[in-house]
């Protein structure tokens, strides 16, 4: 992997979510959506370090993780459009989708709830000796949820091959993390579990890959869990429709100067710029094709509504 591949994946995530926003505005997405605009470098850098068979668990803000893990674009659009997608048949929508075929344990719309579940995937890996690791992403605010605490300690004490990525976008919904904890960095909690913690620039896929890679290697060799805190910023609201009146003037504009795609663009020489333009065009076409394909899928058949509650 290298810059063009990372760029392509980040651009795909961005384009996907921009298109999603337009679809939402047009009334084609019934539920609410939580975008990772600006945070793309985290899933892209992190998933670069994973193999097939490694499980990934995310939050409602998990579209980037799904795409970085190779989940199908059409399936994602269709799922959010409430269509009979190959992912979850429209039953999960934006905040709770998953894809066993891509080892994507899935999103979770209960804050913090993904961490115990990811610990479970790590337990399977450990007990079966599969050599797989389990990576889970949560937000900064989720660190204050009891579930996260319990699961981290469990993973530590059982030496589970778990990597916890905390995407610190400095907000939980409309509240600033500095008002929610009395530490500067959330990794200051890592020593309390006896696990390593590292803070990285979450807008730099290489920095993320380096730190997550180290954690993954550690997990894979049986040395237990780690925490990687990736500092980043939301370019958009918490959810579709968030007016963001709580954000100080200029904050978003400043974030737009620092976000991962812009950074690469800024640093690009003319040759690379041309290559990136080409990627943008390809990604746009790909995304548009997925929208078209998704639109062609039927809505789920109400007659099936009682299926799959039980085996």
């Amino acid at each position: 992997m290298g810059l063009p591949d990372d760029y392509r994946l980040m651009a795909r995530i961005r384009r996907f979510e921009e298109r999603l926003t337009a679809l939402k505005d047009d009334g084609e997405i019934p539920g609410s959506i939580h975008l990772c605009n600006g945070q793309e470098a985290i899933p892209v850098g992190a998933c670069r370090t994973l193999r097939d068979g490694d499980h990934v668990t995310a939050t409602y803000r998990g579209h980037g993780w799904a795409l970085a893990r190779g989940v199908d674009l059409t399936g994602l659009f269709a799922e959010m459009m409430g269509r009979d997608s190959a992912l979850c048949g429209g039953r999960a929508a934006s905040p709770y989708l998953s894809d066993p075929g891509r080892w994507f344990v899935g999103e979770n719309s209960i804050v913090g709830a993904g961490v115990p579940v990811a610990a479970g995937a790590a337990l399977t890996a450990q007990r079966t000796g599969s050599g797989a690791v389990s990576l889970v992403s949560i937000g900064d605010g989720a660190m204050n949820q009891g579930n996260v605490h319990e699961a981290l300690n469990l993973a530590a004490v059982l030496d589970l091959p778990l990597v916890l990525v905390v995407e610190n976008n400095v907000y939980s919904e409309m509240s600033r993390i500095e008002d929610m904890v009395r530490v500067r960095q959330l990794t200051e909690r890592a020593p309390g579990y006896g696990v390593p913690g590292r803070v990285v620039d979450g807008n730099d896929p290489d920095a993320v890959a380096e730190a997550v890679g180290e954690a993954v290697a550690r997990a894979r060799e049986g040395s237990g869990p780690s925490i990687v805190e990736a500092m980043t910023e939301r370019l958009v609201g918490h959810y579709s429709g968030d007016a963001q009146h709580y954000r100080p003037a200029g904050e978003i504009a400043a974030a737009r100067e620092r976000e991962p795609l812009v950074r690469i663009r800024r640093a690009a020489d003319p040759a690379l710029a041309a290559q990136l333009d080409a990627i943008d065009a390809e990604v746009a076409a790909e995304v548009e094709a997925a929208v078209t394909a998704a639109r062609a899928l039927p809505f789920p058949d109400p007659a099936t509504v009682k299926e799959h509650v039980y085996v």
Partner: protein, 326 residues
């Protein structure tokens, strides 16, 4: 005096009343103070009452509900907000083993005068983790009061009743009703908790409903009237204290009972109403009791599937027709 307010504005008005008239109230939850609440229920309150009275908490539902209990025991009258009723499950111990039990276990020496506000139910495209109607879990927990306002006026009156109550009260609003508008009696005296209400009189069948299903039942009653079926609609309002007398009196008049709620059928609170009727109204019942409820499936997100799950007026109409034998 009556003002025309939206349901969510009525909530806001009741909270304003609470913070304004009772010095012992404090309000807390996630994104409630500076941001004014995700649905605007607390808009303007922080500006008016300041951080001593209303403040934002970390995402720690169990922690802050336990804190509400301790505060209530020692002299405050906290109102805590659970953003979606679904999140009450991460804090369920607070409801079942703490808030509801302390008064009894202390032989009445401690009190827990607190209110937990939440909103519940499906909305288009929301997933299973944001669509629960958990009232049956609370109503099966002795020691809690449980109210589900169906109108803007009740959103106002019942929340005030809850704040005034010396018992712990769960007020579960219906997100889908937030935009609805209606007259609110802003100068009405504060009522004690409890009391069902016949919201439409009728003679052929009693339809007991609460929360969002009250309007569905009224809608159904309107349609049924056109077919010559006279349905009496009872808004149960409070599951605890349960005003079964109003239900029984209605069934004594109509001889038939339909219960409607949005929660899943099995073990829903409709079962309790039907069971009480099967015991206490046995002699009056002229037809099998019918229940209208979501089938026993988690809530799917896709609207086409939701339409097959979420009970609406048409389901009430069908159940009534069956019950009256048409």
């Amino acid at each position: 005096m009556s003002e025309s307010l939206r349901y969510i504005q009525a909530v806001n008005a009741a909270l304003t009343w609470a913070l304004d008239t009772r010095e012992d109230t404090v309000y807390f939850g996630e994104d409630v103070a500076l941001p004014g609440g995700p649905f605007g229920a607390t808009k303007g309150l922080h500006k008016r009452f300041g951080s001593t009275r209303i403040f934002d908490t970390p995402i720690s539902e169990s922690g802050f509900l336990g804190m509400a209990l301790g505060a209530a025991m020692t002299g405050l009258r906290p109102i805590a907000e659970i953003m979606y009723a679904d999140f009450s499950f991460v804090a369920m111990d607070q409801f079942v083993n703490q808030i509801s039990t302390i008064r009894y276990a202390s032989n009445g020496r401690w009190r827990a005068p607190l209110v937990v506000r939440m909103q519940q139910g499906y909305s288009p495209g929301a997933c299973a983790q944001h669509s629960h109607s958990p009232e049956a879990y609370f109503a099966h927990t002795p020691g809690l009061r449980v109210g589900l306002p169906a109108t803007p006026d009740d959103a106002y009156q019942m929340l005030r009743s809850a704040v005034a109550s010396d018992d712990p009260v769960v007020i579960a609003e219906a997100r889908m009703l937030y935009p609805t508008r209606g007259p609110v009696r802003t100068d009405a005296p504060v009522e004690p908790v409890g009391g069902a209400r016949v919201v439409r009189p009728g003679t052929d069948v009693t339809v007991v409903a609460w929360s969002r299903m009250v309007s569905a039942a009224l809608d159904a009653a309107g349609r049924l009237a056109e077919e010559g079926i006279s349905a009496e609609v009872v808004d149960l309002r409070w599951l605890n204290p349960l005003d079964f007398d109003t239900v029984a009196a209605s069934v004594a008049r109509t001889g038939r009972l339909v219960v409607a709620h949005e929660a899943n059928l099995t073990g829903g609170f409709g079962a309790e109403i039907a069971a009480r009727a099967a015991t206490e109204c046995f002699a009056d019942l002229r037809a099998p009791v019918a229940r209208v409820a979501a089938p026993d499936v988690p809530m799917p997100a896709a609207p086409t599937l939701q339409a097959a799950v979420v009970p609406e007026a048409a389901d009430v109409v069908a159940a009534v027709r069956r019950t009256v034998g048409r």
